[in-house]
Amino acid sequence: MSTTDQTDRSRDVSQPLDNLGPDETLKAKSDYLRGTIEHSLLDEITAAVAGDDAKLMKFFGLYQQDDRDIRDERRRQKLEPAFSFMARVRLPGGVCSPSQWLKLDELARAHGGETLRLTTRQTFQLHHIIKQDLRPVMRGLRDVLLDTKAACGDDTRGVMCTVNPNLSSLHAQVYALAKQASDHALHRTGAYREIWYGEQREPADGPEEPFYGRTYMPRKFKIGFAIPPSNDIDVYSQDLGFIAVADGGALKGFNVAIGGGLGRTDQAPKTYPRLADVIGYVDAESLMATIDAVMSVQRDYGDRVDRAHARFKYTIDDKGLEWVTAEIERRLGFALAPARPYTFTSNGDALGWVTGEDGREHCTLFIQNGRIVNTSERPMMDGLRAIAEAHEGTFRITPNQNLIISDLAPEDRPAIEALLKDHGLDEFESRSALRRNSMACVALPTCGLAMAESERYLPDLVTKIEALLDAHGLTEEPITIRMTGCPNGCARPYIAEIGLTGRAPGKYNLYLGGGFHGQRLNKMYLENVGESAILEALDTTLGHYARERRPGERFGDFAIRAGYVAEVEEGRFFND
């Protein structure tokens, strides 16, 4: 096994900035993410901020976007694009209190286009915020102890945690650690307080970023905690995943999985989705130390020349899993114990009411693609506000963009049930199992990278697929379907049994063969095709599945056995 000094250092942080990608210089020269943001916010000539500031603001969970529906119209009108900002809240494990909900609801109505968006990493996004409203929004969040730190940027993203309502006590223990991990791995720059809260810059005692330094991480870094048997967080898609190991109700430690990541680019074979490898087991006590060890390896050895090759997954495939594991253990000062056995059964949500082991009640609502908005037939936003006003427990946002009204005393259940009914939020089973297991990313009109529709299109497509399911008698068969508007994979389409990624307006790649509980990547079956081709292909494969599946066989497994696609054993071979 090679050692540190023998490995190639030509592309990592050890190099002078000139040898690295431009973003490294930007970060280094930004004075710990301050840049010229203050100045950009004052510029009255444009609703946008300077290009570099837009990049820096991502570290504060803020994205500059524009309404792509009217981009061309405004170009003709000699008006700049309709710029606005998206704010992504930091909400470890997706747990939020009713008072926090009410504040988010208020901010969304006042500054966020009267809509809230639940994300695939268990948090809220507010869209359509104009530049002048950013500070009010950030301060509003502060009032309820929320922030948007590191919700994006080259640092640790929102930390995920299985919502698992049934195992109440274990969830409580793991959630507490997830929250601690999020705070622990957070950037420390004072820029956030200065820019958004208007506080004075304090004379730095010691380094401003003890862990990150001036150039932060090479790229985003994602951490998640799974509590078997649920793999709702898709632990294998995380840069660093922890699989809880418990004894009875008591948490013992975690199996450690490293190197997950889904982002890829079409026609760029060097980019590929990759599932994490389980490298061993650590006791709960060593959790923070493990996070530091793993993150610091990526911080020090990650590729800072080419951002398309900068995620941890590529560092691992470049250096080799053993080498990386050894380096982690070297930094930990001890060897990881062998991984403990565990089993996952699904990466979906169980909708409806469940009673936890502690007798408390939880209700999981299906929120299609996480979009919370009032419509004439379903006043969803009003309904959830009413519930937040009455509710005394918590809310939990699931990794499948759904919502749990959590932790009710049994006697409070009727009141909540009535509110759900009044606002048309009580139809849990009315949809097909496919729809209940569907996810779509935001895409158009806000996402700047979208090449095709996703959130606004998947529901209609599913309706059309439901007709096929009925015909083949598969309406109640749980099958995961996930769509994204581009290959970046925000709705984790590459681990769905049916995956769709946008290529251009109305055109998608179709993937089949993903593992039902997130254990296997799918593979491209059709490239760059329109709706009719997609429906035709699904009609054939689903029909075949209905006729010839073995007892309990999943659609994803069948697609491989029946030879529609080859099994992808490792991300590196995804594009073969």
Partner: protein, 617 residues
């Protein structure tokens, strides 16, 4: 061979008929022979046929086209359109390859490229990718729209080649590249080498094309001397037809509408349009600051409604200023039939003998009269106080002639030759629940779809002309008042003028009403405009207007005036002009240490020196 199109002005229609007539009758070998024969002839004869493209299919596409007149060394423009950077990269290496050949080459991004400079470009190498669903990259949309639109100039002097980047898994493979290639040929430009379409693994194909292009460009490859035939025929295509004595108010020029877009974005409380008119072949010229007179016609619906009320057919003969015409034509084109004048009120009171109208005639009733006329236009009077069996001549006798309307010209001939741009705010209102529009603004908004023509003339406006190149400009405008400043900036940019300039612009909402926003941003970026201050009255409380912005920056404004700045105020006469004047007076008083009288004198002096100019309406 029968399916050939006329290649454009490169060859006259007659010549073309001969060529195509001949070629359609040729066998392949005959065509070959003739092509060789023609190729042997002098350049005079050669270029038009080559420009026929497939007319002589066997001619190697790499055959160098004749260089245009003029001894000056050729400059190659490498023009790229890129979304994800591939085309950009290739453009740079192509330029390098050319330079290695000793050829002067400059790289330009379609995003910033001014399409009009195509006219004076000799060699153009285009590299474009395709995006969306067969579209060019977003940033190239404007360029494509221009090139494919009716404003695109003929380009006989241009030699070009196109490299198309694409992805063969897409339905419209390399569509953008193909479009440019075909369009340039259409415009008479001459293809240096065939278009190459490359897939996502473009390296080799691109390299091959670059190779071919630089070979074709190599100075040795370019045959010497001008191409009279080409030049000649091209000129014939564009030469201005002889025009009679300049057009004027009485004999307006029928200007073709080139473009007519709403500038105000969604959710605006206003409708302000950008109208581009063609002055081509009119011989009309203007200076920045001049206005365009628009001779509009009344809304046909209003004419019908009026005829209806009167109970008179449109073809009733009438005489106006000793001219015989019909009532319908008179109401449509020669008479003002919207707002009623006091004179018409008299007239109508007399005809109808209506007591209510008569009562308003008394001198002491003037206030009531004005108020009444505000709410009762001609249509309303005729409707409410009918005059059954009225004689047509008697009716029109009360009306005044329809006046042309003036619009500040928002463009400069230096930037947009043969064009005049207007910034028009559409007048819309309802009276007695009947929706109405202003005559001219309504005509421009609703009755001039592209391809229509608008009768126009130039209204000189010396006092508002642009000060000389190094005089600092203080430009103050609200709403459409910004129009002439667009002309000023275009002119200064074209002249490379170095004087400072500062614009104060006011409207209602930033998001929807920031007229010409992207143009001002670009002018600032390029330093043509030095400073821009905005007042959007409905975005903030308390409401802020241009005069408030002036006050806020009073010290600097005064400094500019002391530095000899020329002050322009344009737009709304009712309020803005006065409020701005007061603000200026206060500023001068405060920073010049003067009392109000002193300040007024200071401003009066400015006016005398023609350094404080107004164009308000």
């Amino acid at each position: 061979m029968a399916t050939m199109e006329h290649p454009g002005s490169i060859i006259t229609t007659d010549q073309w008929e001969m060529v195509s007539g001949l070629t359609t009758s040729l066998t392949h070998d005959q065509a070959l022979w003739i092509s060789g024969y023609l190729a042997g002839l002098s350049h005079q004869a050669r270029s038009p046929v080559l420009a026929g493209g497939d007319a002589v299919a066997s001619t190697p596409p790499t055959a160098p086209a004749p260089a245009p007149a003029g001894p000056t060394a050729r400059v190659v423009t490498v023009l790229f359109a890129s979304e994800t950077g591939n085309s950009r990269e290739l453009a740079t290496s192509l330029a390098q390859a050319a330079r290695d050949q000793g050829i002067e080459a400059k790289v330009a991004d379609m995003a910033e490229y001014r399409p009009r400079t195509l006219k004076d470009t000799q060699d153009l190498l285009v590299i474009t990718s395709t995006h969306g669903d067969g579209d060019p990259p977003q940033t190239a949309m404007d360029f494509f729209e221009f090139l494919e639109g009716r404003k695109a100039p003929k380009l006989p002097q241009l030699r070009y080649a196109v490299l198309a980047l694409g992805d063969s898994t897409y339905e419209h493979y390399c569509a953008a590249g193909r479009r440019i290639d075909e369009r340039l040929a259409e415009l008479g430009a001459q293809r240096l080498v065939d278009r190459v379409e490359c897939d996502v693994d473009y390296d080799d194909d691109a390299a091959g094309w670059i190779e071919a292009v630089s070979r074709a460009l190599a100075p040795s490859a370019a045959p010497p001397g001008p191409a009279p035939a080409a030049a000649g025929t091209a000129a014939a295509g564009t030469a201005p037809v002889a025009v009679p004595a300049a057009f004027d108010k009485r004999r307006p020029f029928a200007a073709a509408v080139l473009d007519n877009v709403v500038l105000t974005g969604r959710g605006s409380t206003k409708e302000t349009r950008h109208v581009e008119l063609s002055l081509e072949d009119s011989g009309l010229t203007y200076q920045p600051g001049d206005a365009l007179g628009v001779v509009a016609r009344n809304d046909p619906a209003l004419v019908d409604a009026l005829l209806d009320q009167l109970g008179l057919p449109g073809d009733t003969p009438v005489t106006i200023k000793q001219q015989d015409t019909t009532l319908g034509d008179a109401l449509a084109g020669t008479l003002e039939i919207t707002a009623a004048t006091p004179r018409f009120l008299d007239h109508w009171a007399e005809i109808t003998g209506a007591a209510e109208l008569q009562a308003l005639l008394a001198p002491e009733q003037s206030k009531a009269r004005t108020a009444f006329l505000q709410r009762h236009h001609v249509l309303d009077l005729v409707g409410r106080f009918p005059a059954p069996g009225i004689d047509a001549d008697r009716f029109v006798a009360g009306l005044r002639p329809l006046q042309p309307r003036l619009y500040s010209i928002a463009s400069s001939l230096a930037a947009a030759p043969d064009e005049a741009h207007l910034t028009v705010s559409t007048v819309r209102y309802a009276l007695h629940d009947v929706p109405r529009t202003g005559v001219a603004s309504g005509y421009l908004a609703e009755r001039t779809e592209t391809d229509a023509t608008v009768p126009v003339y130039i209204q000189r406006n010396e006092h508002f002309h642009l000060a000389d190149d190094d005089t600092p400009l203080l430009m103050i405008g609200a709403g459409t008042g910004v129009a002439p400043y667009r002309a000023f900036m275009q002119e200064r940019e074209a002249r490379g003028a170095t004087g400072r300039s500062w614009l104060f612009f006011g409207e209602r909402n930033f998001r929807s009403d920031f007229l010409y926003q992207v143009e001002w941003q670009a002018l600032l970026k390029h330093g043509v405009l030095s400073r821009l201050d905005l007042a959007f009255s409905r975005d903030a409380t308390p409401k802020t207007y241009v005069q408030d912005r002036l006050r806020r920056h009073g010290r600097d404004v005064y400094a500019w005036l002391e530095d000899g700045a020329c002050l322009y105020v344009c737009g709304d006469a009712a309020h803005m002009a006065g409020d701005v004047h007061d603000a200026l007076a206060d500023i001068v008083a405060e920073h010049g240490g003067l009392d109000r009288d002193g300040a007024d004198d200071y401003l009066a002096a400015l006016k005398r020196d023609r350094r404080y100019r107004l164009d308000v309406y």
